[in-house]
């Protein structure tokens, strides 16, 4: 039991459960999942479906953060990818041609990958601090997206494209399938292959990693490119969901939510250990929170207060120090925590 309580992801899961419970009270049939036209339909499905882009972006962000970096440009990449794909499709003679749509998607994803690499190059080759390196693309990329859409909303009418963010496959929303695939890919690369070890090593102690013969450059480039790609897929999903590309607003502030998801998921912003599962959980908490706000009718003016409250509660519950000091009424943490706390990052006991 105490093992369970002490588990990193116990408290975020508990908060998720609590939020779901609140919804059950406020929304009739919240937990119902029905079949409608051969699709699964219901609030729970919606949460995952709407959360899908955030999960994707957060997955990429997790790896970047694990290397000790941060990627502020994901929101802009989201906008660019959606804009480019929709622009290409809008120029097609037949917007429903699968080949044409695939071409557009390929192009958009290739560009996202390149943008991710660009960030990686700035960080590795030029040695610019990640936050600033990606800030450049965050600012310029939004302009790029608007340039592509000419500042307007590009509306398309393409059923193959619609599939990505709004369609279903095997009764499931296609977005969920994409998330599962990307998650599987990320898990494979990092846990099955050894990318995860190298990422954690670089994030944990860059100097020592270099001396151990790790090429941080290769690892960082891979990670930033992956993050760009994830953001790109998320961008396609968001634009496909509403069959239009909004260069001005798509992905706005998604970087903050993504970082929040990563941190709720138990990954330290200082780099090192990361948890993909935790990130997914974190993103779901955020999305459920958003849904809760809509469905229990929190007035828009107080939305942020509510959000602040929940975020604070999650973080406090998750903090071993808080649990020790407040919940168990002890003045200080009884012993060094069981968590692998990096020496440097450990803000040790003191009163």
């Amino acid at each position: 039991m105490s093992r369970l309580l002490g588990h990193r992801l116990f408290w975020p899961s508990a908060v998720l459960a609590a939020l779901l419970l609140v919804n059950v009270v406020f929304t009739n049939g919240f937990l119902n999942v029905q079949m409608k036209d051969g699709h699964l339909y219901g609030s729970l499905i919606d949460i995952v479906r709407f959360g899908a882009p955030l999960i994707l972006v957060a997955l990429g962000m997790t790896l970047v953060i694990a290397t000790g970096g941060i990627d502020l440009s994901v929101g802009s990449v989201v906008a660019i990818a959606g804009a480019l794909a929709c622009l290409r499709i809008s120029l097609l003679g037949d917007q429903n041609s699968v080949g044409g749509v695939l071409g557009a998607i390929g192009l958009a994803l290739a560009l996202s990958l390149v943008l991710g690499l660009w960030n990686g190059v700035l960080v590795t080759a030029a040695g610019i601090q990640p936050i600033i390196a990606t800030l450049i693309l965050m600012v310029a990329g939004r302009g790029l997206a608007q340039l592509i859409t000419d500042g307007q909303i590009i509306t398309i009418n393409s059923s193959p494209y619609k599939l990505i963010g709004g369609g279903y496959w095997l009764t499931l929303p296609f977005g969920i399938i994409i998330v599962a695939a990307v998650l599987a890919l990320a898990a494979f690369l990092t846990r099955r292959l050894a990318l995860g070890l190298l990422i954690e090593s670089v994030g944990g102690n860059a100097k020592a990693s270099r001396l151990a013969g790790i090429s941080a450059r290769g690892v960082l480039l891979t990670v930033y490119a992956f993050c760009g790609l994830c953001a790109g897929i998320a961008g396609l999903m968001i634009s496909s969901n509403v069959s239009s590309a909004d260069g001005n607003n798509a992905g706005l502030w998604i970087e903050l939510d993504a970082i929040l998801a990563v941190v709720i998921g138990g990954t330290s912003l200082a780099g090192g250990r990361f948890s993909l599962g935790g990130t997914v959980l974190g993103a779901l908490v955020i999305q459920t929170l958003t849904t809760t706000i809509y469905s229990i009718g929190v007035p828009p003016e107080t939305t942020l207060l509510f959000k602040a409250l929940v975020v604070t509660i999650v973080c406090l519950l998750q903090s071993p120090a808080f649990r020790a000091k407040v919940l168990h009424g002890r003045r200080r943490r009884p012993s060094a925590s069981a968590r692998p706390v990096p020496e440097e990052k450990k803000a040790s006991v003191s009163a």
Binding site: A194, R210, A336, P340, S350
Partner: protein, 507 residues
Amino acid sequence: MTEPVPILQMRGIDKQFPGVKALDGVDFRLFPGEVHALMGENGAGKSTLIKVLTGVYDIDAGAIELEGRPVAFSGPLAAQQAGISTVYQEVNLCANLSVAENIFIGREPRRFGRLQWRVMRREAERILASLDLDLDVSASLSAYSLAVQQMVAIARAVQVDAKVLILDEPTSSLDAGEVERLFGVMRRLKEQGIAILFVSHFLDQIYEISDRMTVLRNGTLVGEYLTRDLPQVELVGKMIGRELAALESLEDRRAAAEQADAAAPLVEADGLGRPGAIEPFSLTVREGEVLGLAGLLGSGRTEVARLLFGADHAGSGTLRVGGVPVRLRTPRAAVRHKLAYCSEDRRAEGIIPELTVRENLILALQAARGWTRPIARRKQDELVERYIKALDIRPADPDRPIANLSGGNQQKVLLARWLILQPRLLILDEPTRGIDVGAKAEIQRLVVELSDGGTAVLFISAELEEVLRLSHKIAVLRDRRMVAELDNDEQLTTDALTETIASGGRS
């Protein structure tokens, strides 16, 4: 003779870490005006005892009394205010600050609340001079080698008016001269009635300086003894719980010197240098040869190692590995040529603190294979188990974060990281730093075995005896210049070597 009252008394101290009982009912007392050695193997609980004393960790049970009053410090700050000045194991300074600041921070000289930088620098220079150090005190600490940093940490600790001075392995990187100077200071403080707690794995140093010792084993108290009553062999027996028979049984390496000369050159440096760090030097390491590097603190031994490994860029010269000219732009390139380098600074340049022992162990091998070719779990288990056993890493749990291991055990993991690679040249920069007597003998034996098996070893150590015992040849550095290369034959003694180091090879 009535015993004086102890200034510090700890009774029945328990400290439990998840999975490890680090301290189990330990009693300890410290008298004014004595040097008290805390002895024990790696992981015995010495550092933990010091940390619970100074409030870094809470104790689970037991009581601490300072000058007869019960105390429980909330942290090092509180301990310091109560008159306990501590140098923790591993250098715990802020490398981004200047040397002077590192000595004074927290108690800088002030006037009307305004820091007096000039006074601070002057005072720092004076204090360092008393330790025979001549540093640019306004340079940032990171500009200096680990040994110098250790001296600065000591300077910081002795600079305050304290009743109790705690030194946890302060001498692990220091050479004989530095140690002597430190001992000079300790004797002076002792005469002033200050109580000193001292931890070291160098038994000679313990016998030279300490009056009394407390021995720990596996977190339990073995006993408290007067140093003069306890012969060295018995002490070792008490520390490891059995007789250590084979400690001094290493055969003399000297006879093998000529034989090694015949072997093929493995690494040849010609005029290799780096402006400002080390002057161009030429050096040949042959297969199966152990080449020792000797020199004073800051003489440039580490720089030689880093250049050979490609950790720093060489400004001049050429390097050949196996007869083929190579340019090592990164450590990665060096690893590809089967060179390995175990850094002296295990905390900053060695361990990845959050990763487990297993992950730290296989890191270099995995890096060499690239991330697309993971090491199968079974293979990992096998390797890790083998090396944990071979080096007696304790606790023998591969899935524990390395940050939770004691200093000496971390060092062993780092060694294992490189041994797994089966390198052709293994560069060991202070590999026995902070390692207990038993383990030290193990590592020395390992070096011999490796060399017998054809691996070349570049061996750097501040302990000249060790260098002499293991090396076929010894290169001597002074003031960042290679001044001599000596065959390790019968004539070479510690004294002769010291002489060469001191004279800069001019004689």
